[in-house]
Symmetry: C2
Subunit: 487 residues, 2 copies
């Protein structure tokens, strides 16, 4: 169960979130000031910034950027385990905002379809001999539609069309490149997008290329920095088999271990090229937790958004602090080192998207072993207190029944034109256009055992799921009942 | 490789084949005369005929019938292993015509999509360092489109709409019932059709019910013989959860072992009902091999078709004889009992759809153990001599390379209105309307090791495949080359 008002709020907010992150990606000055410490201490951040600087010196040749974002939320009930209380209603809290290689869209879509089907066929119903008239059946109308695959595909195909005809005189066709990780067991979250691009009319040729050496082996830059793809099955010397890349869709290149020499050279070639990047390297930087923390500082949002918009967005922020030597940072360090106070917090490395967080009472012990000069690359976030529901999870481990919590990820897809100025230019954010059909139905929903800290489906801690929307009041009553009946 | 002229011919012929089989199903007199011997000797035929008689006495209440047919062909080269020779060009030969539970449509569609994708991505190409300009690449345009799932779904949804509003005053919704076999491992060929019906706008409720006891437990007949479905998850006594069945889609009930008492009573209830049957019991009878054999007798086709149509159809017939005591039958018995002559023939039981055939030199030995009074339930068909090509098959057994032969199944979907006359009425066949979109792209294609007699994918003898269309002349040259290079 999920409150319909808050689901609608999360979907509606995505318009503003897209505008915000397009604006941040366009504000190189603010980004550098925010990330300076990290660029100086973190290998990946430093290398990405160097790639940006090198490309910038040569000159960026593509103004368009495609964003496929995902903003993750949990429900937060200020009084801890949900106890309905005046003025303390359950609310949306942002966990993080992702701008690179946002996964789970295909899985989320499929699992949502599955629940829709199962509800319609009556699979969740049980025959009860008494009170049958009173039983509340889960109705198919309670499950919001999910068309994330179509939305992502229309985003990629829209960018492909925006690229236009090949610029190279020697090739006749354009194509989309998926830059992927080797031996990615999560490939089922990528392939259906590729299939759907081939099924467009006319088909959009789409190829998977492994980040690093395969990018170097099978692509080249043309005289006007066209990115040319040479299918490995065809003789490279014959340009008639080559295609010009319209869109580079990154499903790799976001982890430090991917950046050996080959990885660095591959990313540099992609960035230099005329292809539309999803995302560009500056947009990649906005995914750092440090950016999320900086945006949560008083006054930050107003640099990029109107006052009304800033209020809407900031309502979803959990308290989040730097760990540097600013006043706020010194205050956060005290919280983090106090075993009692730290219990309400989570320590997040700025860079990685989940899986490297340190929770509650483990923080002081952990920080004691981190050299003080690396502390600024962490942020300290107040833990979200989600209301607990009771449900059953099905995974390879079997069926688990018990208290669960959920996370809603809202996808946002847009294409925008960079103004070229180093400083934020409101006009740039205004070029951010909605190109994806079905963008209002693009989300994923994950549910996990309430006792597990991490929400990671790939590690087996969570399951893809669908919310069943009910109004906030009924939701509160159900949570209350759950916490009473199942201590 | 498959000759494009013959592929097109098979697709075009399906219009006439549909007309023919609708006409035959409407000609009770001819059907009974043709099947009389079998009805007297075969348990299943007798029982089906008794059900028909019983329903007819009460009066059929539904004039509409849905046909989802599949006509199977192989290529035939009169000179045996293909040797191009003047006036002996390769031609289409019908293997059989199926009117009940035609399977393989979903698998065929999926595998065709897969080959289309693989060709487009270049997966079948190899980089050759010499003669690259001369290499003939398999082009995606050579693979005919396959939309069998959509065609079957539009047939079922068209019949569902034709049924109209519920006739029962106590239910508000109509639904499609799939009548299925228990523990059917081929379920993947059925479920996507069901999913697609639920995904129609508005959704068409579709449920699977196991033939026999589940049909009896979860359906009932209303006062006007409406077939009412009671979802097992809902209290049966509450009619608000019940649905009226618009279409009964039989994916079961075609094998004798399914007809215990429960099976017989289930089929009787379905036939008595107002639901549109796919197929009706008279249409079910037309799938008997005996019908195929009778239609191949000189002059038979002209009863149902114009002269031109009869010529077109009969061109696809292999010589096929009765095994009864007619003149043709006595002649066939001689062929069948002669170990030398029998080598060119296959003995088929009239009823079952494949898997019970006896081939060539095994026929005399087999017949020696069959009581003479059962001989009339068999037909003797001259073996088709397909041209041999060389290819690779991939299955659970691994990759097998070698000589292969293929079978093309063409789906035909139509809805028709029964005139009610016992005798054939040409007007009835004329009501046969094309209701399926994409019917020109509804086919399956199977390929097997040339040394195996049976084409059974479910038994592991064959693989779903896609034809690659080339013109007849090039095809002949390729076959010739194959037979030279690979003796």
């Amino acid at each position: 169960l999920f409150p319909s008002e808050l689901f609608d709020e999360a979907i509606a907010l995505q318009e503003t979130y897209k505008k915000l992150y397009v604006a941040v990606a366009g504000d190189e000055e603010w980004l550098y000031a925010t990330l300076k410490n990290i660029i100086q201490s973190d290998t990946l951040a430093e290398m990405l910034w160097n790639i940006h600087t090198e490309v910038k010196e040569e000159g960026y040749v593509q103004d368009l950027t495609l964003g496929i974002f995902r903003s993750d939320y949990m429900l937060h009930s200020p009084s801890g385990l949900f106890q309905p209380r005046q003025g303390q209603a359950v609310q949306l809290r942002q966990v993080e905002f992702n701008t690179v290689s946002c996964a789970g869209g295909v899985h989320g879509n499929r699992v949502s379809d599955m629940h829709q089907y199962l509800v319609q066929t009556g699979a969740y119903e049980t025959q009860t001999s008494t009170d049958v008239e009173d039983t509340i059946y889960l109705a198919s109308s309670m499950l919001p539609p999910n068309h994330t695959v179509r939305a992502v595909v229309s985003g990629l195909s829209g960018a492909h069309r925006a690229y236009g005809a090949p610029k190279s005189s020697t090739v006749t066709r354009t194509c989309v490149l998926f830059i992927v990780q080797p031996r990615n067991f999560n490939i089922a979250d990528e392939k259906p997008i590729e299939y759907a691009l081939w099924e467009q009319i006319p088909p959009i040729p789409t190829f998977r290329v492994i980040f690093g050496s395969d990018v170097l082996a099978h692509t080249s830059l043309g005289p006007s920095k066209e990115l040319i793809y040479h299918p490995p099955s065809r003789p490279k010397q014959l340009s008639k088999y080559s295609l010009e890349v319209s869109v580079v869709y990154m499903r790799a290149g976001f982890e430090v271990h991917e950046y050996d020499d080959m990885g660095r050279m591959a990313r540099l070639r992609l960035e230099k090229s005329r292809a539309i990047k999803c995302p560009s390297i500056l947009s990649h930087f906005t995914t750092f937790k440090k950016v999320q923390q900086a945006l949560a500082m008083p006054g930050s949002l107003e640099r990029f958004l109107s006052e009304d918009e800033a209020v809407q967005i900031s309502k979803t922020f959990a308290p989040i602090y730097p760990m540097d030597d600013s006043d706020a940072g010194l205050c956060a360090r005290k919280l983090a080192m106090d075993p009692e106070l730290a219990r309400e917090y989570v320590l997040k490395p700025s860079l990685e998207g989940g899986g490297h967080n340190v929770y509650g009472e483990n923080i002081p012990k952990f920080l004691a072993e981190v050299p003080a000069e690396l502390w600024p690359s962490y942020v300290l976030m107040k833990r979200i207190q989600p209301p607990i529901l009771y449900n059953a999870l099905m995974s390879a481990r079997g069926i688990q029944e018990g208290p669960v919590v959920s996370e809603l990820g809202v996808f946002g897809i847009c294409l925008w034109r960079r103004s070229g100025a180093d400083k934020f230019d409101r006009k740039e954010a205004e070029t951010c256009t909605e190109i994806a059909r079905h963008s209002k139905a693009s989300w994923s929903f994950k549910t996990k055992d309430a006792s597990v800290n991490e929400m990671s489906v790939v590690k087996g801690y969570g399951c893809f799921d669908s919310p069943a929307l009910i109004d906030l009041e009924k939701f509160s009553a159900c949570c209350h009942q759950s916490s009473m009946e199942n201590p």
